[in-house]
Symmetry: C2
Subunit: 476 residues, 2 copies
């Protein structure tokens, strides 16, 4: 039986001004985690959430994380840990969000004051953090409040984990999540993260996968210092010559990875998975527009999406140590470091992938019979994440989307990584759902970041409805 | 019959303090052509030469060159044009030198004040411009003065052309030389330039060749802006992938140029040429030391020198538009520009070389069947220069070296370019000789530039002796 949601929805609709004021207050706090000088504002934002949650009847604590590594004069902002409801007969959903924001200055090109929420005639609410990630966090608070005001029984228990360092590498979070997995988070039956975006602007989606990323450096060194090509060209071997030969062996024009042992690790596409791509709202026209060119590898939508989401890719990012300015410089660089990364997917193993990369690079270099010195290493690695979109957590969210938006959601992955998804899955062992509130055009890390009023209000309904459908899903 | 030079030499030896004072005065004028604020000092240096030459009885004019292109508020420093002697029965030698210097600040790491000539216990005279090129210019003035004081008949007529913009691209010089070739320079029988260095520190050399340089850009562009590799990797073709494939096709680890039509233009080594390499003072140990590594292409001296001097080379300098900083950045660069240059030698033709490069790059790119856009072009080109080392101009200088230093000179080329050598040869049609005064360790463009007193004083004798041997050489 479908949950009774009408009075909740009505309460949300009648609270638009109040919810907007809540977002305005939050946006007004410039909680920029990357800016040391703004650290008191980040802490102020934690206090704001503490007070809001307290007044809604949640039990809240501000969990200190200690000093910022490498900047021992700076205290990390606390993680807001909260619990709402403690009924053993209900499911418990663990929510993650972040209350810090990207930097923003009017002079960067904003048309409005970035920390003064400004609503245009289309209902677009401009302000730093509106969509990333204050709107979604406050969505959860709105859900609690609307239930209270409408006098509706809350369908689940909530655990909340709101951090203040997401835009600066989530310093300290992984340790906390691991530590609390069997303590504060022990009751969680599933995890819900609202910190990503629809694929387009009109159709909601549920995100069940992210690629991982292994980032590599290939260093070739010879002479002890840069040389002049007039003086030395033709008499010394040149590291740059070897480097481009190695880099040219990694991937071809159509993105096909040439390193043996990589594609072999990729799981085959199942019919179930293939079906998920059928109705996705995505066109090659829109993709060409986002590229600003017609240099897509594939001509059709499904292959393009699979290329971004479920197959690995290898990108050459650049070269450190060589001439990189405009104009002409006749230098023989003595040490050059090529940078490339592989976006990883199931069932690629980080260590196995590293091994294949190192072996390939070393073999290609050995074939050159160069007198220069090679060094290849991973700068950082991060695991891919894929959840089961058939889990009750996803079923509940999909039904909520049908209820609120009247359409079946797109089931999407993303090509980039959101490390926290992996962190929560590995620490809790529970299904993780990415349930976005905003759209692809919200400009999360750009100037003129915004959240549409529709997405904020219908999004609040969606988050609430999701919790009711979670309660209604059969045990499996 | 060998010229009688003893009284000239004696006069030079007794003038060490006086000649050193002359160099001290010149070094004290910070005639930095690259620094707009120092332009009055550059002009002051021209005035200094004007006065010195006047007082030696030369006819001198300061030839204005007009405004500096692109900096119309700045007047170019004048070229000092001078004539000493006007005897139709004597040969006339055209001298070139430059009176401007590289920038220098004590704070760059100089151990002495750069514009205060400082002599250490080994006779090393430290100061900006000491060896490049004030010492050699003043050497010619010293020669004139020593002849006057010793009462010796001057053996030749001199034409002098001393410019003040050499360290900043010799702005305006080429036009002046072409213009005066059949006027002020009309009488010249040969040209002598003292503005380079011995191959090592102990053995004088005569330089008869320089390589040219064609500098190329290969631009590959696709998307309209840089992309995130998480979002787009695997779905778009990437310009950097194509660029490294093109760059990897140009040259191999051992410096062998892979572009068809380049090596085909190179003249074969003759026995005469080969003989010139026989006694050259150069060791692989010294070469490895200058590299700071054992990454030389060849194991023997002759091949190494020929690789630097008489064969073309291709160096990959770097990539513009890609990530070039330290650390990791997951960018897909939208437009990347590879930079490389070819050092050219006889009988390579600039246009033919360009044609071969463009054809090769375009063919390699076409084979990739990429949707990205290629553009390949020459940023600048410059011709190689080779003079006949059997010309009387060289014979005279070689005999002067035997007379002053007691050894046969090395006959050298240089791998880099000195455009003025080509300019004078092409404009006058006369043999050009590079007759260096300083050594390879003088640090012309570095901190702590110096000229050894030995090289200044014996160098002055050498310049004078050269003029006497010029007079004694038979007509051919």
């Amino acid at each position: 039986m479908a949950p009774l949601l009408d009075s909740f929805f009505k309460q949300v609709d009648s609270s638009v001004n109040h919810f907007t004021m809540r977002l305005r207050k939050a946006v007004a706090i410039p909680s920029i985690s990357a800016d040391d000088a703004r650290r008191p504002d980040v802490v102020r934002m934690a206090d704001f959430l503490y007070q809001e949650l307290k007044s809604l009847g949640a039990s809240v604590k501000l969990r200190p994380l200690g000093k910022q590594p490498g900047k021992e004069y700076l205290e990390l902002p606390p993680v807001v840990l909260a619990r709402y409801g403690n009924d053993n007969s209900k499911r418990t959903i663990l929510l993650y969000g972040h209350y810090d924001v990207q930097p923003a200055e009017k002079s960067d090109g904003w048309t409005t004051e970035p920390f003064d929420l400004t609503i245009d005639e289309k209902g677009q609410m401009f302000g730093r953090g509106a969509t990333d990630d204050k709107g979604p966090i406050l969505g959860w608070l709105n859900v609690i409040e609307a239930h209270q005001k409408a006098g509706i029984n809350f369908p689940v228990n909530l655990l909340m984990c709101f951090e203040g360092m997401e835009e600066y590498g989530s310093l300290g979070l992984e340790e906390l999540v691991k530590e609390e997995a069997k303590k504060f988070f022990a009751d969680a039956d599933a995890v819900c993260i609202s910190d990503n975006y629809w694929l387009g602007t009109e159709k909601p989606c549920l995100t069940y996968g992210l690629r991982g990323c292994n980032y590599y450096s290939v260093e070739v060194s010879g002479p002890s210092a840069d040389l002049h090509s007039g003086m030395f060209g033709g008499a010394t071997q040149e590291p740059m010559t070897d480097l481009v030969r190695v880099l040219s062996s990694l991937v071809d024009t159509n993105g096909k990875i040439q390193i043996p042992g990589i594609m072999e690790q990729v799981v085959a596409v199942t019919q179930d998975e293939e079906d998920l791509y059928a109705g996705i709202s995505f066109t090659m026209e829109a993709f060409h527009e986002s590229l600003g060119s017609k240099t897509a590898i594939f001509d059709d939508e499904k292959k393009t999406l699979m290329g971004r989401w479920r197959y690995p890719s290898l990108s050459l990012h650049g070269v450190e140590g060589a001439f990189s300015g405009p104009g002409a410089k006749t230098v023989i660089p003595s040490k050059v470091i090529g940078k490339f990364s592989i976006r990883t997917v199931p069932d690629m193993d980080i260590d196995e992938t590293n091994k294949c990369v190192f072996k390939h690079v070393e073999e290609k270099f050995a074939k050159l019979k160069s007198k220069s010195t090679l060094r290849v290493y991973a700068q950082h690695t991060g695991k891919w994440w894929v959840a089961s979109p058939k889990h009750w957590n996803f079923n509940a969210a999909a039904k909520a989307i049908v209820r609120v938006y009247g359409v079946d959601p797109d089931f999407t992955r993303e090509g980039g990584s959101i490390p926290v998804a992996v962190t929560f899955e590995e620490a809790t062992g529970k299904n993780v759902l990415l349930l976005p509130m905003g759209t692809s055009t919200d400009g999360a890390h750009s100037i003129n970041e915004k959240l549409d009023t529709r997405n904020y209000i219908e999004g609040t309904k969606l988050l609430g409805a999701y919790l009711h459908y979670v309660a209604a899903e059969p045990q499996r």
